[in-house]
Symmetry: C2
Subunit: 433 residues, 2 copies
């Protein structure tokens, strides 16, 4: 079997190649398939969406800074050039390891030689009453659209109510990690624009954004100085940072804390943590990792299996120094590449290699011109330089030149505060008038 990349296989050649099925088109799944494109395997990539979404920027879609098409890219378009890759728009209900088939929710089955489970993560609600029903997570493009509609509608309603009485409005962001910090900052900018440019009759002082976390500081994965900086920046943007507070209940338009305080809230945004998405990853082996993740060996194969792999947020990958590697986008990408290489090695009859994560650092933006980055060897970068680094890195990783160009235009607009922006409320299930 030739191992040099080959740009095209004929249909009959393809049929004889080993079949790799990749479940999930996020960072991990897409980087796996990219490595397998035009290699001597047949690949089927299955996702319940027809696009790859750039999750780190979903909060921008939710706060009306970017459009869905800016942060998402059709999977078929990414792999349209690779003749050995098939994209299947479907939901997977099970991996039947006894028969080596993936079972789809519509009842169809797809046989595999190797299967890669890259089903990612969803918000974790820690069994807090009401949280799953009423809190608004940011894990899919649909989540982001729904949150955007909620935010804009709240502002519209408050504008009407302001005609007859004094209005106060709370938005609560639960979780002081990067997603929570970024969402709170962007939300503050959205309200600023709505009041100053769109002329909503709201008293900016009466619109409170509360960023709450049970931890004693923000951004616990960063050094202490990053937390201090983020708190200072957020406060200057009018965000109340409330630390050491835990949520005991979420209502449709309210929230209750363990200290007894109850608050009306126009929206409770949930950025408190993640757990494994769906049931696929946790059913791959008898032993499972933390929060239901698939426990994998050093080569990323599921514990005890020869041809079942798991990567990205769906997998618990042992870190030689600590317990498990953190759940980050660069880790998902690197684990995807490694997995693809190991599958090719196994198919060639070679021994697999141990996965090592190369730390690229972590970043969080707080608003225009303010961000923090922790780089592996350079310490912490803050302020405008941090923001430019954040911007450059995110642009770089967006799939497709057009997306980068459009995001750059949108960001430039927002940076200079031109009075435009996709602040559209497009109803979810609207009927004819």
């Amino acid at each position: 079997m030739a191992m040099t990349p080959k740009s095209e296989y004929s249909a009959s050649e393809l049929a004889t190649l080993p079949h790799v099925v990749v479940v999930g088109g996020g960072f991990a799944g897409v980087s796996t398939v990219r490595k397998l494109a035009n290699r001597p395997v047949r690949v089927t990539l299955i996702d319940r969406h027809n696009f790859h979404a750039f999750l780190p920027l979903l909060y921008q879609v939710a706060t009306a800074g970017l459009e869905p098409a800016d942060v998402a890219y059709p999977l078929r378009t990414i792999f349209g050039h690779a003749k050995n890759v098939r994209v299947r728009h479907a939901r997977v209900s099970a991996v039947d390891q006894a028969r080596n088939v993936v079972v789809l929710q519509d009842g169809n089955e797809i046989g595999y030689d190797h299967v890669v489970v890259a089903t990612g993560a969803v918000a974790s609600y820690f069994d807090i009453p009401g949280a799953k029903t009423y809190a608004m997570p940011l894990y899919t493009l649909a989540n982001a659209r729904r949150l955007r509609n909620r935010l804009l509608r709240s502002l519209e309603d408050a504008d009407v109510a302001a005609e007859t009485s004094a209005v106060s409005l709370n938005f609560v962001v639960v979780g002081g990690g990067p997603t929570g910090v970024e969402t709170a900052g962007a939300l503050s900018e959205l309200i600023e624009i709505a009041v100053r440019r769109d002329g909503l009759r709201l008293d900016r002082e009466k619109v409170r954004i509360r960023l709450v976390d049970v931890a004693p500081r923000l951004l616990t994965a960063f050094p202490e100085s990053a937390s201090t900086y983020a708190i200072k920046e957020l406060r200057s943007m009018g965000v109340d940072v409330e630390l050491g507070r835990s949520v005991v209940e979420v209502e449709q338009y309210g929230i209750r804390f363990s200290d007894g305080e109850r608050l009306d809230a126009a929206a409770v945004i949930w950025a408190a943590g993640v757990t494994v998405a769906g049931t696929l990853a946790s059913h791959l082996a008898t032993k499972i990792g933390p929060s239901g993740r698939a426990l994998v060996g050093a080569d990323l194969r599921v514990d005890g299996s020869e041809n079942v792999w798991s990567i990205g947020d769906a997998a618990a990958i042992a870190d030689p120094k600590a317990t498990f590697y953190p759940q980050l986008a660069p880790l998902a990408i690197q684990s995807g590449r490694h997995c693809a290489e190991q599958i090719l090695r196994v198919l060639r009859g070679e021994a697999t290699e141990v996965f090592r994560y190369h730390d690229k650092g972590i970043m969080a933006t707080i608003g225009r011109r303010a961000a923090v980055a922790k780089l592996p060897h350079a310490g912490v970068i803050k302020g405008t330089i941090g923001w430019l680094a954040w911007l450059g890195l995110h642009l770089w990783y967006l799939v497709g030149f057009r997306n980068r160009l459009r995001v750059l235009i949108n960001w430039t607009w927002r940076y200079f505060d031109w009075p435009s922006g996709p602040r559209l409320i497009v109803a979810d299930a609207e009927t004819a008038p």
Copy 2:
């Protein structure tokens, strides 16, 4: 009362000004309010959406050529600079002329000195069984998104079905006017990209687009030569043009014709004609115009009223030469401007003037590089020149520089056939995975 434009009124000055309520933020309503901005009136613009949508390009959103934010612009952003304009995001249930109040669906009431009803048009189904339930119109941004999801899902499903059997797919466009012609052409381009660039395993020959109309030719508002040209261009793009055919029933995935033929259809797109939107316009006077439109006098006041006006698609406006003016975007814009001027005249105690439509011509695009335009004094323009004229005109009329820039980028991409585009299926009511 000063009649020179004034850039800003104090709150106390505003309260003493006459109140003009405009219902509807389409071409007609927006052009009325633009003329009234910073004039000696208080204006409230009410719309059930928080944005103004550029309806002539909705078919581009439906066929994944443009994004919603490319063709829509927040009303608050358009009028944020005008201190005498208020935007209200609400639905209107009635105009109570006895009490001079507009009644909102939420029960609130808004008093007026003058009211302008610019509620526009919706698709007309001519009481054809099933049409209202199953046919897909293109009159709102939500319509366009729903149609896009349906089109892309049909192609995905066909790709899966093609694994096991030969697949044929029909898309039916009902109505041979500009909307039907433009949609059929753009749909053909979408399928072309899906097959050639995204690698969908469909036999292009088995995917039929059928453009049907009961009339003996297309584009009846244009000269015969435009119809001949459009038919030739559409056929070269693989669209079946079927004239003299009438639809007797629409099913969820099918259509029946008067000649007895029944066809499976992945989508039935409805571009067959319009009728008045909602019930507001038809309840303004005892006498009503064609298809429920408000019958207005030469100055655009509703028959028999002193302070109730109707404009755009909601109104039946007498044409001195024919019966009524056609329902077109330029007419909506011109009638909005005229209405605003007449309200100011009435408030100054002056006599009103007769509305005259200045014909700017009509246009329809068939695909990249092909369009027809009928200009008032220059006859018919066809081909690439027509397409460039169409492009320039549509760009010009888009609200906001950023929208123009983004549409230009999207069109340029599409024109040169770069393998990108917002072909995303974003579910309407998606739940967590």
